[in-house]
């Protein structure tokens, strides 16, 4: 402060220029007039009696020329398609075959009555939006960090026998690549492809679960390299790219990312691959073997991923496909297609599962037999299909 500056409050103090508060009485209920009490979004029909917070922040954000989008999409790809074409999957929801309303001089702007087609009826049962995404994922990363810190302080890693140290470095480590590849190139990729905002938002949340799990495993691996003498933090790379036991999983994971149809991609990953390969590896191998080998930390990481899949990602997946199996117009069409996807993906995933078998004999304290684990995975898979209203494919018995 310099000597020439005025003391606060002195008269020469220049008036600070700030906007002045004004009483406007512009709050709800201050007056009555037409619409003055209509305080809900009136452009969609809620799933239940009342509109949910989740619906309010997601429904209709992505427009549709079949109902309200009167001037149509404005920018297209080179072939002239814009927006979110329904034929980016071969599945159909009722109304999918209705043409986009034509516009011409004096046509007006009416479309079909909302929702115009069955895709708009999908709601994510997890009701994911901004608040839930950050709350849930923060809880997971906080929990995991605490568990790992506690383990470090109690020297829990010293309890691991040497074979298990190697198992975690190689095989638990290898799984991070599956999460990463599917998270980015299957799920994040699919968030551009589905016909409504509710689909794409649920898919993008699924993507973040997988990418976060991948990073959880990678950073856990980093911690173990610092904590356990002789822990090889790079072994997972070699295992993933060269260990014959992993090549079936790797080939299948890559093949999943190569699927063109977004619904087939989500179906193959969450309905087929996850129960037959993901849960087989996580629940029926790592979770079973870890405690016997002195490891109580790895199961908390793997358990977090199991929870994301079983309690969240599988839930929205069922809500996505089950109505299509029972669709009032395309039930047969959709069932035939999903059957054909099962016929394609079940053998691939079973083959991948079987190539993992050598892993079961590596820990000193053995997990339950591979065949028993696979049986459990298969029966879990049958249950999922039953929930969806789909038949168990004959390929499952191979």
């Amino acid at each position: 402060m310099t000597a020439t500056q005025e003391r606060p409050g002195s008269q020469e103090q220049p008036q600070r220029s700030v906007p002045k508060p004004v009483f406007t009485d512009a709050e709800a209920g201050a007056r009555e007039f037409p619409d003055s009490t209509l305080r809900r979004f009136n452009y969609y029909v809620p799933r239940k009696r009342k509109q949910s917070h989740y619906e309010d922040v997601t429904v209709e954000v992505q427009p549709d020329p079949r109902h309200y989008l009167s001037q149509g999409w404005l920018y297209g790809f080179a072939d002239g398609t814009g927006g979110y074409p329904l034929d980016w999957t071969v599945l159909k929801a009722w109304g999918s075959d209705r043409p986009v309303p034509e516009r011409f001089p004096g046509s007006g702007g009416q479309g079909y009555e909302w929702p115009a087609h069955g895709w708009h009826e999908f709601r994510d049962p997890n009701e994911e939006w901004e608040q839930s995404i950050y709350r849930n994922n923060s809880n997971v990363v906080r929990q995991l960090s605490q568990n790992i810190d506690a383990a470090r302080q109690s020297k829990a890693f010293e309890q691991w026998n040497p074979n298990w140290v190697q198992f975690v470095a190689q095989h638990v480590g290898a799984w991070m690549h599956v999460d990463h590849g599917l998270g980015l190139y299957l799920f994040a990729n699919a968030n551009r492809r589905a016909p409504t905002n509710m689909h794409n938002t649920a898919i993008s949340v699924n993507s973040m679960h997988r990418i976060r799990s991948a990073q959880d495993l990678a950073l856990y691996n980093l911690t173990l390299s610092e904590e356990i003498p002789g822990f090889d933090g790079t072994a997972h790379n070699e295992t993933w790219s060269a260990d014959p036991a992993w090549q079936g999983v790797r080939e299948t994971a890559e093949q999943l990312t190569a699927i063109w149809d977004w619904a087939e991609a989500v179906f193959a990953a969450n309905v087929v691959f996850e129960p037959l390969v993901g849960e087989l590896f996580r629940s029926n191998l790592v979770q079973q073997a870890a405690p016997g080998n002195g490891d109580f930390v790895t199961p908390t990481l793997i358990g977090a991923e199991e929870y994301d899949y079983a309690e969240r990602d599988l839930r929205y997946t069922k809500a996505l496909f089950e109505p299509l199996v029972r669709d009032k117009e395309f039930a047969t069409h959709n069932t035939e297609i999903m059957d054909s996807w099962l016929a394609t993906w079940v053998p691939r995933c079973l083959a991948a599962a079987r190539t993992l078998q050598p892993l079961w004999s590596q820990p000193d304290a053995k997990p339950p037999r591979f065949e028993d684990g696979l049986d459990r995975a298969k029966s879990r898979f049958r249950g999922i299909l039953a929930d969806l209203g789909l038949r168990t494919p004959k390929e499952l018995n191979q």
């Binding site: 512009a26 809900r40 002239g80 080939e251 093949q255």
Partner: protein, 549 residues
């Protein structure tokens, strides 16, 4: 996490990527850019372990502020003039946000840099955050602001209104066409790097001055994610620059993206800030002053111009012309006047300007009163129904403009209007650059070079075509902009909520049918069309008909 452990963690997660050995990921999108020689560039480092809690913490602040605002009766102090424009703004902006999320995968197969893909995936979920947090803010306004009409019908209105359609470019431009043009140049290099400052910093400042401190709380929180997105874009741009053959496309795309963003964003945000405020302190910055600072100095001079050292030609002429349109050609004033002329097609209310407003405009934009003063006095005179028609149908020295086929903002700077026959149709454009965008840039060849991945302008781009020769009462009913008594309009050219002073469908019934300018143009003979063109470019400013001599 400490800075060092973030760096180590970031290093570690680079191990996640792998080269496919059996099958390549699906390739849904194409680009005419090549990345053969590109050196990989790092984006800003971000690890999810710290990212999620950081965002959660930001959320706590936002929701805490919202609770506080309700408890503190914020809506007793918000200016209706301001809040009404939020009906338009918040109907548009959640779509651009979510479209940015959807745009990210366009870059996965086209930009060969796995490290960038991580940053893009985080941007994807950031944008989901932005879209839903903004929807949530709108929901809060609907529940707590005096007039919920227009908020309660927001996303339907946005989809069928001409103003929503203009705004949609700032979303659809991200997700279609050449993957790099869309998701990198248009979205990140121009929309996010240049224009989010006016959107998410300048505008919230104005909101606060009008008694609304929730918009700033939400939008500053949104903006704080933006530096990572800008960094994703810059890394991609540097990769693209290392291949000489990309320069021609970069120059094309910078011209298109810059100009389209200017046309769309400056029209909307300029209007909100200049005509949506009650804050007429002489020392508060005008939109032109803000633009000069945020866009001209911070973006153009500090970001674009330095790219010249890579041998890139920067669209200096278009930056200067955008400024010229804002400062000398009255772009924002012309747009606001058009919005107010066409209030009957809106879903928000527009407050007339007062003497205090006139004084401020004259002070900030010398000469404003001579151009626009009389028209706004007419707007005020005609604002409450009293036997007359809405201003669009009264003689107030205003010629209804034609629309720009490209940016869809009307051709308001009349002397700049360009007429061309493109794809067998006569089209009007607000500027030569908009004509070039349609006729030259968005085509499968460019300057003799094959550009098979370039996008296309599609859709029924002239809103008026749909309602050619309809009565406005039927138009408003068709769009659903009627209140729950079945006759009072959502839109009003004043803020008085006394039902006796509000316009109804009955008032609109008395208006003549409304012909589409573009349909009419295409029905003209060559001679008539030439005469029309000669007349149009002599119109203005402030929409005045051409002088009769």
């Amino acid at each position: 996490m400490t800075r060092q452990s973030v760096a180590k963690a970031h290093q570690k997660i680079q191990e996640l990527a792998w080269e496919p050995a059996y099958h390549e990921p699906v390739s849904h999108y194409g680009t005419d850019y090549t990345f053969r020689k590109a050196k990989k560039k790092d984006p800003l480092k971000q690890v999810l372990r710290s990212y999620f809690p950081m965002e959660e913490e930001k959320d706590h602040r936002v929701y805490g502020a919202q609770d506080g605002a309700i408890r503190g009766n914020m809506f007793r102090q918000v200016q209706q003039r301001w809040m009404e424009w939020q009906k338009l703004f918040l109907s548009i902006i959640p779509l651009p946000e979510i479209s940015a999320a959807r745009a990210m995968p366009l870059l996965f197969r086209t930009v060969p840099n796995p490290e960038l893909h991580n940053g893009q995936a985080i941007q994807m979920i950031d944008e989901v955050r932005h879209s839903t947090i903004q929807q949530n803010l709108k929901r809060l306004y609907m529940n707590n602001y005096i007039d919920p009409a227009g908020f309660n019908s927001s996303l339907r209105n946005f989809q069928n209104d001409y103003a929503g359609t203009i705004g949609r470019q700032f979303a659809e431009g991200f997700i279609t066409g050449d993957a790099i043009t869309a998701a990198s140049i248009y979205l990140t290099i121009v929309a996010e790097t240049a224009f989010t400052n006016t959107l998410f910093v300048a505008m919230p400042g104005e909101a606060a001055a009008n008694g609304d401190y929730l918009l700033p709380t939400v939008f500053h929180s949104v903006q704080s994610d933006e530096s990572r997105h800008i960094s994703n874009g810059y890394a991609t741009l540097l990769m693209a620059l290392s291949d000489e053959t990309n320069h021609q496309l970069l120059e094309r795309d910078l011209r298109y993206a810059w100009w389209n963003n200017h046309c769309v964003v400056d029209a909307a945000i300029g209007t909100f800030i200049e005509y949506g405020t009650k804050d007429r302190r002489k020392d508060r910055e005008s939109y032109a002053e803000m633009w000069r600072r945020w866009i001209y100095d911070d973006y153009y001079r500090s970001y674009l111009v330095p790219l010249e050292k890579y041998g890139l030609v920067i669209p200096h002429d278009l930056v200067e012309e955008a400024w010229n349109r804002i400062w000398n050609k009255g772009y924002v004033h012309e747009v606001a006047q058009f919005f107010a002329t066409g209030w009957i097609a809106n879903y928000w209310r527009i407050d007339p300007m007062t003497d205090e407003d006139f004084e401020w405009f004259e002070y900030k934009y010398p000469g404003w009163y001579d151009k626009y003063g009389a028209w706004w006095e007419n707007y005020n005179r005609l604002s409450v129904p009293n036997g007359h028609k809405p201003i669009a149908f009264e003689d107030v020295d205003y010629a209804y403009p034609h629309r720009c086929w490209t940016c869809m903002v009307p051709c308001l700077i009349r002397q700049d209007m360009v007429l061309d026959e493109v794809d067998g149709q006569w089209r009007t454009y607000c500027s030569e650059t908009c004509r070039w965008t349609d006729a030259v840039a968005f085509r499968p060849t460019y300057q003799g070079r094959q550009t098979p991945n370039m996008g296309k302008l599609i859709g029924s781009r002239e809103w008026e075509t749909l309602y050619h020769n309809w009565n406005f009462a039927d138009i408003v009913k068709d769009m659903g902009y009627v209140r729950d008594d079945g006759k009072t309009l959502v839109a009003q050219p004043h803020l008085d909520l006394d039902p006796k002073k509000m316009w109804t469908l009955d008032h609109l019934r008395k208006c003549p049918p409304f012909p589409s300018p573009n349909v009419t143009l295409n029905e003209m003979t060559d001679e008539q069309r030439q005469a029309f063109h000669a007349d149009y470019v002599r119109q203005g400013p402030a929409g005045r008909p051409a002088p009769q001599d």
